[in-house]
Subunit: 213 residues, 4 copies
DNA sequence: TATGAATGAGCCTTCATTCAT
DNA sequence: CATGAATGAAGGCTCATTCAT
């Protein structure tokens, strides 16, 4: 009984959040009315208020949904990858690919984070730093294994993340000139190759050869 | 007569835009009312409509103002610098410093660009690419003079810009851990040192020695 | 079967009405939602509609409940009191005491009577006049037995009732200055003593002496 | 300039309050929408919010208006009346007459006082007590001049006020049976005559004779 | 030019009521 | 009988924009 209602409840929340993700992404938070969301989610306006406190709460769960999606997509891909350099490349590729698939959602996060309450913003930041930790783990291992030169982890992590996000945030500057693959390849050069040790370079080359085969 | 009125007119516009910059930066575009702007600019609500078509138009000029500020601050600093490596460093420093001084305005640009009309957004992008061209010029020269390894200019330019903007966009992740100077120094390492040729490295070192003296 | 279900049914109604009495009294009719009532009565929202036509119907039964309470509490106390002066005093005391015990409910009746339909309001008035008839009976007997001077019954009856209700309606004006007993004592002076015949005065005095002993 | 705008402003407030008095009186506070008030006051919905904080604020000023009306009508009638007994009668007559002319407004005060904020309610009570002070002054003088027996002023004052209000609050119980004059005459008997000293009685009689002539 | 009173479309939110289970 | 998820009409309030002065 309870399980079923919890399931139904979860279904409803998802229904609404997914509609909100799309609408907020396309039109922005303030341009989207609760009516819009209700229509897109195929529920009544009043129903939304059974599952969310107010419009802002919908935004919060929408942003949380987007960030969770990122983390839950990138992190698992690394499981079992014992080679940290490979892991780093996979993480970079994963986040770049996701960003490419969700350009609008990525932009939404930058547009609307400030519209959350302090408490909500804090939680969003926590979610965001989870994805950062994925990169940090890879980087740390690379450096520890002397595959990469020592670097400031905090800052470098954001170099990786921002490189991916830039594809969304400045996509108008790249779309016409570069394919996604080219952009990504350049990223590897700038963010990985440039910082490899001789040992790292060897590993890196053998990986590329492997991938090419 | 006309000149005077044009001057007065310009003064009015500035008055309003500057108030808008502050308010939009602090509270966001949608949270700021025309009333707020009028009060902050010490003019009447109606007056704003003599100088701007509508609220969106105020946003447009506000963003334009912010971007112009960036360009007009960074570009002149390079005039006369014949050493492209020095110029690149100065540009990076300049944009970083500006971003640090205008965190909120920088964030505003990311929040509100999408709220412009297509035509307006296009012009904003043009302004934005001007600052890009500054970096591009430096980079090009560095590479041409074999101070830096060959790099994809389009992408690298945004690496520089985004590094600076990240200080604003993710300031909550850095503020507590790093001083602005440390962040900037790390930027030089990641974005310049890493890509220097042996010749470039020598020039770079001698510059640092000079600066230290 | 029917008896049992009728009993259960009655129990349900009471459950709901009692919750409504409390909530309406405390927060007012319009501030109280059906949800509130359901929760307070520990039943589901839908159930209320099995026993009441709509929210207004709940109000009607709530007010009826309050008035019935008044009548069923004051009237029985007079049974067997053959001395009409004593009865009058008991009635005054009884209504005053009840009002004191149910300040909010009394105020509710004044706040919300107008929110009933004409038909409902009429029935409420009928219930209200029952309590009036109690006083009228006492008064009539007092006058008939020459204990009190002849007075207009209709108006005098409301003098008694309103004196009691004033304790609730204007309680902020009295609470800090007078104890309930003092207020009541003054009422006896103003509404009974002042209108006694010499004969009535004698009876009155002997009663007070008796009560004091 | 300022004076004119202040005047205009005052006019607007009055316009709105008067519409609100009528509508709240007729339909009650919660049944009246801001739209209703706007229409009745022949202004736009938005305008109301330029002069009042919210709907509750309109109620506050509405009730204040009603109470001010009472006080400003009764009090001046007593100016120059050096005979306190005459003054008391005039006050009673005045408040009764006003109540008769504003039955709905009087009822409104009883219905809606609780819908105010604490602070607002306090001010309303202060206004209400002003009318009480008028009666208190008369009564005090009557007693001081030995025209009336000593009485509890606080309580007696409310006997006078409530007698008048009862005409409104319970008008359904009286309207069909008694004319306003009869009700008032009975009030004088119950609330004045009954408490006169022999000296007071003489003065009272001579006044009535005078009035009859 | 400059003002600010006035407008009214539109939005968020509430809540009485219904109905499938 | 009983539930509570779902509805949607309706209301309070905001604010960009206009216009008489």
């Amino acid at each position: 009984m309870k399980a079923r209602s919890a399931k139904r409840s979860e279904k409803r929340r998802d229904q609404i959040v997914q509609a909100a993700v799309r609408l907020f992404s396309e039109q922005g938070y303030y341009q989207t009315t609760m009516e819009d969301i209700a229509k897109a989610a195929d529920v009544s306006k009043g129903l939304i208020y059974l599952y969310f406190k107010d419009k802002n709460d919908v935004l919060f769960y929408t942003l949380r949904f987007v960030l969770d999606m990122y983390e839950s997509d990138v992190a698992p891909a690394l499981v079992g990858k014992h080679n940290p350099l490979a892991a780093l490349r996979i993480a970079l590729y994963g986040l770049c690919r996701l960003t490419n698939e969700h350009v609008q959602e990525t932009v939404l996060a930058y547009r609307s984070s400030k519209d959350l309450s302090k408490r909500q913003r804090l939680e969003i930041k926590i979610r965001e730093s989870k994805i950062g930790r994925v990169f940090r783990g890879c980087l740390e291992a690379c450096i520890h294994e002397r595959l990469m030169l020592p670097l400031n982890l905090d800052i470098m992590v954001y170099q990786y993340i921002m490189f991916c996000h830039t594809w969304a945030l400045k996509n108008w500057a790249f779309r016409d000139k570069y394919a996604f693959d080219e952009y990504l390849a350049e990223g590897e050069r700038i963010l990985i190759s440039a910082f490899l040790t001789p040992k790292g370079r060897k590993v890196f080359e053998s990986q590329r050869a492997l991938a090419a085969a």
